[in-house]
C-alpha cells in the first residue's frame, strides 16, 4: 500500500506538514471545517475533505469524521499536528486499531504522559526531579489545603488533564486556595472532561526550558537540545529560542540526559518534548511532556539542521533514525516570535477579520511559517496564531537584531496584531541580556514595555 498522509489539523502547522510530506514524495490529504474551505492548507494539499461545521468539536475534534476521511481517501497515516486531537490517546488508539500509522507516539504512551500526575510519578521513579507537589489527585479541598500548607505558598492548582495554559491557577493563601479550588475543578471538568486536580509548588521566577527528543521504534532516542520558552503570557508562549541564553553546559547536559532517560523509560517513539522549570539556582524540575510536534519546533530545526516533521513521518513509517546522539550538533542561535491576531492594547483580545494585505520579511536567516495571505478571512472559531517568524544568526545578539529588522518589515493589514508588541520585547533590556524567566511578560507589561507600548501605540 503506497504511503499517503492525512493531516488532521489546520493553519500554519497543516501547511508545514503538507510541505514536509510533499518533499518526501508522499501524497497528502487535508481536512477542513466549513469555515476553512478557502484556507491555504486546503489549497496546498493534493486532496481536501470537508469534515464538519466551523466549531472544532464538529470538525477538527470529530474523531470519526477525521478517521473516515483518512480511510475514504486511502491514507495509511495521520499527522495530528499540535492541539486538536494530537494528544488524545483515544483518537490515537482508534487510528492504530484501523491499521493506520499515527504520526506520534503509541496511544498508551500518550495516555500515560497525558496524565500529569502519572507523568510526575514516572519522572520521580526515574530519578528526575519534579517540583514539590501532591503525589496524586487531591480528594477534596481539605486535602489540598493540608498539602499546600506543608509545601508552602504560593502553590499552583492544576488540572490533571490540563494543557495549553488552561486549568492552572496560582494561589498564595488558604482563603484563595479554597475559593479557587472549586472553580478550577469546574473549569477542568468543562474543558478536559476530568475534574481531577493536583497541587504543585509555585516557583518564583523560574525559566521554562524544554528539551526536544526524537525516538524511533528501534529504541534509539536522541535529544536535539533545549528551547527557552520563558516568554509567556498567561501560560501561552510568545517568544521562544534555542539554545537557551545563559545556561551552563553542565545543566544543558543534565536536561538532555533526563529527557532521554524519561523517553526511554516510557518507551516513547516519535517527536516529543520534556518541559522543565529551571530556578535561579540552576535546579531543574520536570513539569510535563508534550507528546506531539510543538509550535516552536522551527528554532530547534534551525540550530540542529534536522527537519523534525520529516523525521516524525519517517519514524511513523517504521524507519530507523539516521543519526545518533553524537551526530547531533547545534550551532548558531534561533528565535521565534508568534504573530497573532490579537489586540495588544486591549488585553490581547482575539481580533478576527479580513486580512487586506500582507508583507512578509525575508532574506537569509528569516523563516515565515504561515497560512495567511492577502484576502484571508480569519475565522473566529480557532486560535489566533497567524504566523511564526523565525530567525537564525550566528549569535543571540545577531539573532535579536535580525528579528527586529524582520518585525519592522512584517506587515499585516486589516486586523489588529501583535507585531509591534513583539518588536518592543526585542528591545527590552532584560530580554536583550537574556535575563528572562516566566515572570518576564507580567513585569514587561507593568514597567518599561507597557509604558513604551502605550506611547508607541498612540
Amino acid at each position: 500500500m503506497p504511503n499517503k498522509i492525512l493531516v488532521a489539523n489546520r493553519g500554519e502547522i497543516a501547511v508545514r506538514i503538507i510541505r514536509a510530506a510533499k518533499e518526501l514524495g508522499i501524497p497528502v490529504v487535508a481536512v477542513h471545517s466549513t469555515a476553512d474551505a478557502g484556507a491555504l492548507h486546503v489549497k496546498l494539499a493534493d486532496e481536501a475533505i470537508c469534515i464538519g461545521g466551523p466549531q472544532s468539536k464538529e470538525s477538527y475534534l470529530n474523531m470519526t469524521a477525521v478517521l473516515s476521511a483518512a480511510i475514504a481517501t486511502g491514507c495509511n497515516a495521520i499527522h495530528p499536528g499540535y492541539g486538536f486531537l494530537s494528544e488524545n490517546a483515544r483518537f490515537a488508539e482508534m487510528v492504530e486499531s484501523c491499521n493506520l500509522a499515527f504520526i506520534g507516539p503509541a496511544s498508551k504512551v500518550i495516555g500515560m504522559m497525558g496524565d500529569k500526575v502519572a507523568a510526575r510519578r514516572i519522572a520521580q521513579e526515574n530519578g528526575i526531579p519534579v517540583a514539590p507537589g501532591s503525589e496524586g489527585i487531591l480528594e477534596d479541598v481539605e486535602a489540598g489545603l493540608r498539602f499546600a500548607r506543608r509545601i508552602g505558598y504560593p502553590v499552583m492548582i492544576k488540572a490533571a488533564n490540563g494543557g495549553g495554559g488552561r486549568g492552572i491557577a496560582v494561589v498564595s493563601d488558604d482563603e484563595a486556595f479554597a475559593r479557587t479550588f472549586a472553580r478550577t475543578s469546574l473549569e477542568a471538568e468543562s474543558s478536559f472532561g476530568d475534574k481531577s486536580l493536583y497541587v504543585e509548588k509555585y516557583l518564583e521566577r523560574p525559566r521554562h526550558i524544554e528539551v526536544q527528543i526524537l525516538a524511533d521504534k528501534f529504541g534509539n532516542v536522541v535529544h536535539l537540545g533545549e528551547r527557552d520558552c520563558s516568554i509567556q503570557r498567561r501560560n501561552q508562549k510568545v517568544v521562544e529560542e534555542s539554545p537557551a541564553a545563559n545556561l551552563s553546559d553542565v545543566l544543558r547536559k543534565k536536561l538532555g540526559a533526563a529527557a532521554v532517560k524519561l523517553a526511554k523509560a516510557v518507551g516513547y517513539t516519535n517527536a516529543g518534548t520534556m518541559e522543565f522549570l529551571v530556578d535561579a539556582d540552576g535546579e531543574f524540575y520536570f513539569i510535563e511532556m508534550n507528546t506531539r510536534i510543538q509550535v516552536e519546533h522551527p528554532v530547534t530545526e534551525w540550530v540542529t539542521g534536522i527537519d523534525l516533521v520529516k523525521e516524525q513521518i519517517r519514524i511513523a513509517y517504521g524507519n530507523e533514525l539516521s543519526f545518533r546522539q553524537p551526530d547531533v550538533k547545534t550551532s548558531g542561535h534561533a528565535i521565534e516570535c508568534r504573530i497573532c491576531a490579537e489586540d495588544a492594547m486591549n488585553d490581547f483580545k482575539p481580533a478576527p477579520g479580513t486580512i487586506t494585505g500582507v508583507i512578509f520579511p525575508g532574506g537569509p536567516g528569516v523563516r515565515v511559517d504561515t497560512h495567511v495571505f492577502a484576502g484571508y478571512v480569519i475565522p473566529p472559531y480557532y486560535d489566533s496564531l497567524l504566523a511564526k517568524l523565525i530567525v537564525f544568526a550566528p549569535t543571540r545578539k545577531d539573532a535579536i537584531r535580525k528579528m527586529r529588522t524582520a518585525l519592522e518589515q512584517f506587515v499585516i493589514d486589516g486586523i489588529k496584531n501583535n507585531v509591534e508588541y513583539l518588536y518592543l520585547i526585542m528591545h527590552d533590556p532584560d530580554y536583550v541580556k537574556g535575563q528572562i524567566d516566566t515572570g518576564f511578560i507580567p513585569r514587561f507589561q507593568l514597567t518599561i514595555g507597557g509604558e513604551r507600548y502605550a506611547r508607541f501605540a498612540e
Binding site: G357, V358, I359, A374, E408, Q409, V411, D413, E420, Y423, H427, R452, R455, F456
Partner: protein
Amino acid sequence: MPDSLNERKERIAKFKKTILNKDDSARSVDIPEGLFVKCEACGNAVYQRVLDQNDGICPNCGYHFKIGARRRIALIVDPGTFFERDAGIASVNPLGMPDYDEKLLAGAKASGMPEAFLSGTAKIAGRPVAIGVLDSAFMMGSMGSAVGEKVTRLIEAATVQRLPLILFSASGGARMQEGILSLMQMAKTSGALSRFRDAGLLYISVLTNPTTGGVAASFASLGDINIAEKSSLIGFAGPRVIKQTIRQELPEGFQTEQFQLKHGAVDLVASRKEMRVLIARLLQFHPEVRA
C-alpha cells in the same frame, strides 16, 4: 500595501527617536568643493572630471559650459604650436572708477590671465594662423582699452604676416569701467579688420556663449565666416532689457545660436567637438593668398 510599510517606517522612526532616544538622523558627508557642477540647461549635477574630459559639454543634455581661453586654444590648435603675443598688455584704471582695480585682480585670479583676451600664433592642421580668444571668466570677457589693443595688434600682425585670423568671442560687451574708451575699441578693431580684409585675408569669427554688446556689435560679427558655437546667447542687448524696452513678449529661442542662424546673423552652428575639424576644413577651402 507599500503605504503600510511607509506607515510602519514612520512608527519605527518615532519609536527610535522618542522611546529609545536614538538619533538616527544622518549627516551628509563633506565632499570637496567643486567636485560637481550644476548644468545650467538641464539642472543635473555633473561630475567635474567627466565634464572636463568631455570638453566642458554636459554629458546629459549636450549643453556647452563656458571654457577658459587656454583650454579653448588647446582644443583648437595643433599641440605645442601656440606662441602667445602681447602677454604684457593689461588694463589700468584710466578713469579712476571705484572698485575697478579690485575687479581686475579678481578677474585675473578667476581666469589665470592678466587680461580677458589671449592671443598669439599657432598652427591648425599644419596651417599657420593668428588666433585670439576672449575669456568670460575675466570680467565677463568685456572689452576695454587693453583687450581692444590686443585684438587690434593681433589683426595687424595677421595682416603683415598674411595669416588667416580666428577669433573666439565670449563677452558681455564693452567694459563699462572704461566708459567711452571702451566704446572706441569697437571702431579701432573694426578699422583694423577693414584693412585686414583689404589685404584679401580670411577671418573666421566664432561666437561662443555669450557674445553680446560692443563685441557682438564690432569684430565678432565681422567675420568672412561667422560660426556660432552651440548653447550660445548671441545678441546686442540682453533679452530682459529688450523686453522692458519694447514691452512685448520675445519669441521663443530668442538670441540663441539657432535663432541667429535662422535670421542670417551667423553662417554656421557647430558643436565644440566638431569645431577644430570645421575650422581646419574652412582653412583648407581658403588656401593662402599672395598679395
